[in-house]
Amino acid sequence: MATNLEFIKSASGTSVSFLDVTDCFSADYDVYYFSLTKVKRAGGIDAFVVIRYLDSGGTVIDQTEYDYAGLETRAYVGFGANGVTNASEIKEIAYGSSNATDIGGISLYVYNPYDSSSYTFLTSQSSSVRAGYGNWGSKVIAVHKSAEQLSGVRFIAEASTYDNITVNVYGVK
């Protein structure tokens, strides 16, 4: 039974179009918690936080091996449901503007990434703010449909760059 979180590593980037969190998966854990609280997008763009996995050699997986479904919960307009199969990335993780507070919180769980005999599953929830509109949130599920061992995660700034991004990774023990 899981009894605690164990810190694995932290990764940060400044003025980057993506941040790779490398070598964070191992045989020590089946479930991983990613916490993001300090993410600031560069000016002028409202867009998604997108992720792709890194394979066992550290190469980004950009093939059409992802399915995902998400519900956008928006305080200012009706919610939006999106589902995509055979995608080359996982969108909807969060949505951010370039205002001072930007993307507030993302809690993301990854299941079985180091198990070469299993697909890798993901659940995620976010709360951010879209400048001039209000609260934007998402609840996302995703699967990487290739039974292979993964080594990390790439956090991509869709159509923009991150002024700052920090990711903390924990193993659920």
Binding site: N4, L5, E6, F7, I8, K9, S10, S35, T37, K38, L71, T73, R74, A75, Y76, G78, F79, A100, T101, G104, G105, S107, Q125, S126, S127, S128, V129, Y133, G134, N135, W136, G137, S138, K139, N168, Y170
Partner: protein, 218 residues
């Protein structure tokens, strides 16, 4: 602080040691020296740290958590076996700044989905609120309880809004089994001093609520 260069070859200078960021090869006496110098940590870096649990067993107007700890970017709050004293009331919450409950008309925004076991679902959203709703229309009959969790982000950062994500499971007044999930926002850049849980009307009859800090490396 510790210079053992002769045992491992020539090392021009030892790395600077500090609690939480020790680096190098250490013998037992090295660790002892660093502990005495306050340059070695015995803490587990990165873990769920319980700040406080409050247990309610009789009718209570509100539950205030006035200690959010220090240094946390993420708080994790669990709500266990929650039941209001009055049927069909909402579990709400507000934040405290400097010990004062924040009640401004546009201090908060929320957006969450409600799904019922009878197949219906609805959106609960509003960008301009004086409070945040966590779980709506909870029942009071036997077994009509609510359980769930809430993540709180950047509560201790004076330069950031405070963000929330939540997920609950409960039995409504109808009674229908139901869930809520979604997000919330305190739209002020403040350092919070606490969080208050209360009902839309009436009191809280029973629950156990715990607040944890997620310790980070930094």
């Amino acid at each position: 602080m510790v210079d053992k260069s002769n045992e491992y070859g020539y090392v021009p200078s030892s790395p600077t040691q500090a609690e939480g960021s020790n680096t190098g090869i250490f013998e037992v006496n090295d660790v002892t020296d660093l502990l005495l110098a306050g340059q070695w940590t015995l803490e587990d870096l990165g873990k769920l740290e319980l700040i406080e649990t409050q247990t309610i067993t009789s009718s209570t107007a509100q539950i205030d958590f006035t200690d959010l700890g220090t240094g946390y970017n993420v708080h994790f709050i669990t709500i266990n076996n929650f039941q209001p004293a009055t049927d069909s009331q909402d579990l709400n919450f507000r934040v405290l700044v400097g010990g004062s409950v924040q009640t401004g008309a546009s201090d908060y925004g929320r957006a969450f989905n409600i799904n019922y076991s009878n197949g219906t679902n609805s959106e609960d959203r509003d960008p301009d609120l004086d409070r945040l709703r966590l779980i709506p229309e909870i029942g009071t009959s036997t077994g009509e309880l609510a359980n769930g969790y809430l993540y709180m982000y950047n509560a201790l950062d004076s330069s950031k809004y405070t963000f929330f994500t939540q997920h609950s499971t409960f039995i409504s007044r109808d009674p229908h089994y139901a869930t809520t999930f979604g997000s919330g926002l305190y739209v002020q850049s403040n350092t919070l001093s606490g969080i208050r849980f209360y009902m839309s009307f009436g009191n809280i009859n029973e629950t156990e609520i715990s607040i944890y800090g997620i310790k980070e490396y930094s």
